[in-house]
Amino acid sequence: MTDATPGQTVGPFFHHALAFPGDSELVPFGSAGSVVLHGYVHDGAGEPVPDAMIEIRQADASGVVPRVGGSLRRRGAGFTGWGRSCTDGAGHYWFSTVEPGLPFFAVTVFARGLLDRLFTRIYLPGAADAVDGLVASREDDGRLRFDIHLQGPSETAFFRFPRT
């Protein structure tokens, strides 16, 4: 296998390039059958990370992973199963999506001060065989909540995949 090109931090100035209208709305916010997946990104001191970016990849409600374009121009596009959310000043990210028919959201984390991307999963509440600590909680209003800790006592479990 050829040696892979190394990663580098996303840096502080990515928003004007990577954010786009509707980036975090895999389905329109508030639409029938939609759910909000949200949370906060924290550093090792528990402080918010206001310059992080979270991407999710997921199956649709029936368990099929869509392989169709249209994520960058969502108007009129079908469900693409991919979204991107830049954290705000409070370190908050959010997606409007559907609950996948497979048990987890695949997640990529980028941030200033983070030299390479991190992979993890967010499992649906009650998922069988979930990795410890990677299960979202269901809030009273129905939203799914999952906080990401880059470091510290609650550090999120991050992954290494084969061939990476």
């Binding site: 190394p6 390039a17 994520s71």
Partner: protein
Amino acid sequence: MTTSQHEISDEIAKIQADSPGGAPLLDFAPYRSTTLRHPTKEPLHVDPEGAELFAPVFGHSDVAAVESDLTLQRGGEPIGERIRVQGRVLDGDGRPVRRQLVEIWQANAAGRYSHQGDQHPAPLDPNFTGVGRCLTDDDGWYSFTSIKPGPYPWRNHHNAWRPAHIHFSLFGTDFTQRLITQMYFPGDQLLALDPIAQSITDPAALDRLIASYDHSRSEHEWLLGYRWDIVLTGSHATYLEPSDD
């Protein structure tokens, strides 16, 4: 803020002597912002499944052809040295990554980003946003026309300067191949001083982030050409079907 470049370079040299590696070290104190932002636990070894087997798909409904020319986005010509950067996106087995999204962003010729967070007192260019997108073609080729970005100061230590670079965001065929990185220019004396570049502690691996000047890509009285190929990690699908070629 009082740490000198000399002290930072000493820190870098010590770490590089101890742990040469091809991937950036996440725990790399010379880049000060990593201190509270690097995981300390060993990553879990996980086999990809479900949505992790498939990268998102993008198409011509997502990207307009004009988005690959960063000199055409506003009314007039941006100031700077006009360049074209071209190369191929390949997977870890050398196969082209076809019809996939490439996103780039960069500072202008004076070293200033068109971003409200950039307070460097260098001029903004009203004709340059520094943002581009394209899709690779059937052989994995991408191409961007732009201007050469300037180096710029940052606050990691006293008199800290980032080498000129273009940020690249890439997808493969598998979710697990996702890559965001930075392309550097050949001969840049700031590379050896830069804690972000030097977090890749193996010099041969860092070389893979440096474009080549390619005179055959330069155009008479118009622009200078650079070549930079990108290799993603291995695809899981290929791994399962090694004879499928």
